[in-house]
């Protein structure tokens, strides 16, 4: 089975959050804690020697996803066809009834719960309906910098190289997140 993954060109990201809002609009998520795509700002240095980068953080659809193993109700699973990690809202028992081990298990914060007590876990499912319809995910089509791409990971690696490191991202071998980057490097004057 091909494992689908994400390419992120960190050198292009201006931190505009278009991907975040496009996703919230597409899935009609209210303002609040649940966001399938997050953008993290990384800042270093002291004035005037500064560095800043942004990291787009969806779900990285790990080859060995810790959230799947952690869920006490087997609500999270990995699709055989494309390796996309999805959640079954019927099986998820909701925030108040569950120790929410998926939250603690994922080092990148992909599982999301809205603020209500009965909130079921939700997450980035790589816009699989869009992929099935031959479209890219909404974040990819939204990015004004064309910094995101989604597809079979091997193809992405062939096209963009296999670079598992980026500013603000810690690659964990045991989970094998399905991502490759063009990382941002500090400016060389």
């Amino acid at each position: 089975m091909p494992q689908y993954g994400i390419y992120f060109d960190q050198t292009r990201c201006t931190g505009c959050y278009t991907c975040v809002v496009a996703c919230k609009d597409w899935y009609d998520l209210p303002a609040g804690p649940a966001s399938f795509m997050r953008v993290k700002c990384i800042e270093r240095g002291t004035f005037p020697d500064l560095f800043a980068a942004y990291l787009a953080t969806p779900c990285y659809h790990c080859a060995a996803p810790p959230c799947v193993a952690a869920c006490p109700h087997q609500a999270i699973f990995k699709r055989e066809t494309d390796g996309i990690v999805v959640v079954d809202a019927e099986k998820c028992v909701g925030a108040a009834q569950c120790p929410k081990r998926c939250l603690k298990a994922c080092p990148w914060g992909a599982p999301q719960f809205q603020a209500t007590l009965d909130a079921r876990m939700q997450k980035c499912q790589l816009c699989l309906e869009r992929l099935e319809a031959g479209r890219q995910p909404i974040c990819v089509e939204a990015c004004p910098m064309f910094a995101l791409e989604v597809g079979p990971l091997e193809e992405l690696r062939k096209k963009h190289g296999d670079q598992p490191q980026a500013e603000g991202f810690k690659y964990l071998k045991r989970f094998e997140p399905s991502v490759t980057f063009k990382p941002k490097e500090p400016a060389q004057p």
Binding site: T14, Y17, A22, A133, E141
Partner: protein, 759 residues
């Protein structure tokens, strides 16, 4: 839910995809596709069509939360409390329009049309809706008093006209690939867009080897993303650094002498000033280092790079020109472009106003009959009877064609509040009695909001067309609720001017009891006894009169159907290509036909605050002014990436993205006992705002940034709890008309301490 592949499939599921576009006053104008089902917009997409895609940013993508905001105005309102108190009662459209008409008739009869102040704003950027129809209505009614000057760019525009005689000084963005060096001076398109795709072209230019330098008091997103080198500079001192760069270029004989001799006028006077022959002060990098805080070596290195790594693009942003003598910076930048010969060539750039493609105005499309040319010195004709025949302002560039209207009948926008309060006795052209305000949150966006509140409270009558109960609308007697671009048909030209147009097809019916500005005028016209001719046309009929005049829109119906028309360019637009290639055949549009390094039109003003050759000048709210003893911090009022001026405030999806707290350097915060995230007050003699501190290395010491556009919300003691930057700004334009939004001195204190001191 399944994704719709095509329109047929979409229609089968009851979904319609409507081609429209985002249309507020940002640097964009982007494609939006509204997914509509059962009369509601349920999702948005942006451009998924052919390249170049005009992709909307977070602001556009968040639009559903503005469209369906519970805070949208839904009915006409009549004031019941004191003006500005914000207490209203809903009334019918008939009652509201009757009351507006009666007040207009009454004030016209008692005080004349001159007493009617029209404040059109930029809140809607369509060709049809927004202030267009109300302006026509007020003209038919006998005229009105209005303003001149636009906060965004007036200093840059003045400099552009004085130096080049035109505002079309820009290159299309694809030309950035031809620049070996790009200097982004006070220019932050990552947040301000500056026409869609600008950031994308900057990234591409960097990827193919262009070197990029950013000069800005803040480590902006543009600096973080694009810059090989960031040079922080003390606000308001940009002209000093530019003069020092000129000093290096001139004294090291790195000027493009042939270019100077062929294409410019007044270089000798400029050289004498730079070398200190006129005032005894050579403008050396050491001189500028003390003023700007930029090390002399950094200035000299950049000067050499700019003069030798041709072609180089010096893009002089508008922010540094929003200062007390802003035109000096813009003029200095343009002169540097000229003396290095970086004008009229691919990869170069001329500075100035920087419009590349005229999609916004049609004046240049009409053949002018030289016999019809009027001598503006004897009076400027106007369709507005109140202005018609008025003499030009002596401080205007009235002999030139284009740029800002030079009529003396207008009041500078930053002085509107003063004019309301003081009238003719204060030297203004009218005693103003009522304000007709459309698509403008002027109380928030003109400088000195506290004075603005006093002024609006003093008027006899205020009517506001609005979508939300803004600070301005709270000061109305009648608020007329207006629909949004999702609820009407319009055409959006790009912001500054890129080669495309967007047709905004109406996506859904108007919310509740809202109407378009044009519909309001249709119903107001008969109440004022005006001929209904214009207002009887349908929206699409009026739009056709716009498109007919534009040869670059060959097919109105195709534009309407496709929603967007992208005009292919055979090659990148390069400003002044003809003037440089064939100077004898193509003079510049200045009085001399040359690039005016020394401007004779300015010389006639005979004002040391606006010299004919650009200079570095101080002013009463500069870092070295006596007032800095009391208010030692310089205020910047930059544009936020989660608002468009004051529009899109109160949109939860945007508000949650990042803190809107004031940026302050850790050293300045520590000296005042301020911790990150803490409530603070920022104040000067004009006002006081409460906000939170965002303690960050990304701003230089001595400078505080408050993102402009937050909603002015004074409490009973006058402290602005909304954190509106203009509560603190100065309402005094530069001699060239620049707005001093980035020239205010302030002090900052923890809110708890400030409250204790007041007691």
């Amino acid at each position: 839910m399944a994704v719709q592949n095509n329109e047929t499939e979409a229609a089968a599921s009851g979904l319609t995809i409507v081609n429209t576009g985002c249309c507020h006053d940002c640097g964009g104008r982007c494609v939006l596709k509204a997914h509509v089902r059962d009369g509601r917009v349920e999702r948005l997409e942006s451009d998924t069509g052919a390249a170049p895609q005009i992709r909307a940013c977070a602001r556009g993508r968040a639009y559903r939360q503005r469209l369906y905001s519970p805070e949208r105005l839904r009915q006409p309102l009549r004031r019941v409390g004191a003006r500005g108190e914000g207490r209203f009662e809903p009334i019918s459209w008939d009652a509201a329009l009757d009351e507006v008409a009666a007040n207009m008739q009454r004030i016209k009869a008692a005080h004349g049309n001159r007493a009617i102040l029209f404040l059109p704003g930029a809140g809607n950027q369509g060709m049809l809706h927004g202030p267009t129809a109300p302006g026509i209505l007020l003209t038919l009614f006998g005229g009105y008093t209005r303003y001149w000057g636009i906060p965004s760019y007036e200093g840059a525009m003045f400099a552009s006209m004085a130096t080049y005689g035109t505002i079309r000084t820009g290159h299309s963005r694809d030309d950035l690939l031809n620049s070996r060096l790009i200097i982004m001076w006070g220019w932050n398109p990552a947040n301000t867009i500056w026409d869609p795709e600008t950031s994308l072209w900057l990234a591409r230019a960097k990827e193919q080897g262009s070197r990029i330098v950013v000069i800005d008091p803040r480590f902006t997103d543009s600096a973080a993303t694009f810059a090989h080198q960031w040079i922080p500079i003390r606000p308001g001192t940009d002209a000093a650094m530019l003069l020092a760069m000129a000093h290096v270029i001139i004294s090291e004989k790195r000027c493009d002498q042939a270019f100077i001799e062929t294409h410019t006028l007044g270089f000798d006077a400029f050289r004498d000033h730079v070398l200190g022959k006129d005032d005894g002060q050579p403008k050396t990098p050491q001189w500028a280092a003390a003023i700007t805080t930029v090390p002399a070596q950094t200035i000299a290195d950049l000067a050499r790079a700019y003069a030798t790594q041709k072609p180089a693009a010096l893009v002089a942003g508008w922010g540094p020109a929003r200062t007390a003598v802003g035109e000096q910076y813009s003029r200095c930048a343009a002169v540097l472009c000229a003396i290095t010969g970086n004008i009229g060539i691919p990869g170069g750039y001329a500075g100035g106003f920087m419009r590349a493609y005229s999609s916004r105005e049609t004046g240049h499309l009409m053949k002018k009959d030289p016999a019809q040319r009027v001598d503006k010195a004897k009076g400027i004709p106007s369709l507005n009877p109140v202005e018609d025949g008025a003499l030009p302002r002596p401080d205007s560039l009235y002999k030139l064609s284009g740029g800002t209207n030079a009529t003396s009948a207008r009041i500078h926008q930053s002085k509107i509040w003063d004019a309301i309060l003081r009238g003719r006795a204060g030297g203004y052209p009218a005693d103003l009695k009522m304000a007709y305000i459309v698509a403008s949150n002027c109380l928030n966006q003109y400088p000195n909001s506290p004075k603005g509140a006093r002024a609006l409270k003093s008027l006899a009558f205020v009517v506001v067309h609005e979508q939300f109960l803004t600070a301005t609308a709270r000061h109305a007697d009648i608020v007329l609720p207006v629909n949004t671009f999702m609820e009407r048909t319009d055409i959006a030209p790009p912001w500054l001017g890129s080669p495309y147009y967007i047709y905004l097809n109406k996506a859904v019916d108007s919310l509740a009891d809202t109407k378009s500005d044009l519909e309001i005028c249709r119903e107001l016209a008969p109440r004022l006894g005006l001929a209904p001719d214009y207002f009887q046309q349908s929206d699409d009929q009026i739009l056709r009169t716009f498109t007919r005049r534009r040869p670059d829109i060959p097919d109105h119906d195709a534009l309407r159907r496709d929603g967007v028309l992208k005009i292919p360019l055979p090659e990148p637009i390069v400003a002044f290509k003809e003037q440089i290639a064939e100077p004898a055949k193509h003079p510049f549009a200045t009085l001399s036909g040359k690039i005016e390094i020394a401007c004779s039109h300015i010389a006639e003003m005979n004002n040391p605050r606006i010299p004919s050759v650009p200079k570095y000048l101080s002013h009463p709210e500069h870092y070295d002014a006596p007032l800095a003893q009391r208010y030692p911090l310089q205020l910047l009022t930059a544009h936020s990436k989660i608002r468009t001026h004051s529009t899109l405030e109160r949109v939860p999806w945007l508000q949650e993205l990042e803190s809107q707290g004031a940026w302050i350097h850790p050293a300045d915060a520590a000296a005042r006992g301020i911790r990150d995230g803490e409530a603070i007050e920022i104040f000067n003699d004009r006002g006081r705002i409460r906000t939170t501190a965002q303690v960050t290395e990304r701003i230089m010491p001595g400078v505080v940034n408050v993102f402009q556009g937050a909603w002015y919300t004074p409490d009973e003691s006058g402290v602005d709890l909304g954190g509106c930057a203009n509560t603190l700004t100065l309402d005094e334009p530069s001699p060239g008309g620049a707005f001093p939004m980035n020239s205010a001195l302030v002090e900052v204190a923890p809110a708890a301490q400030a409250a204790a001191e007041k007691k």
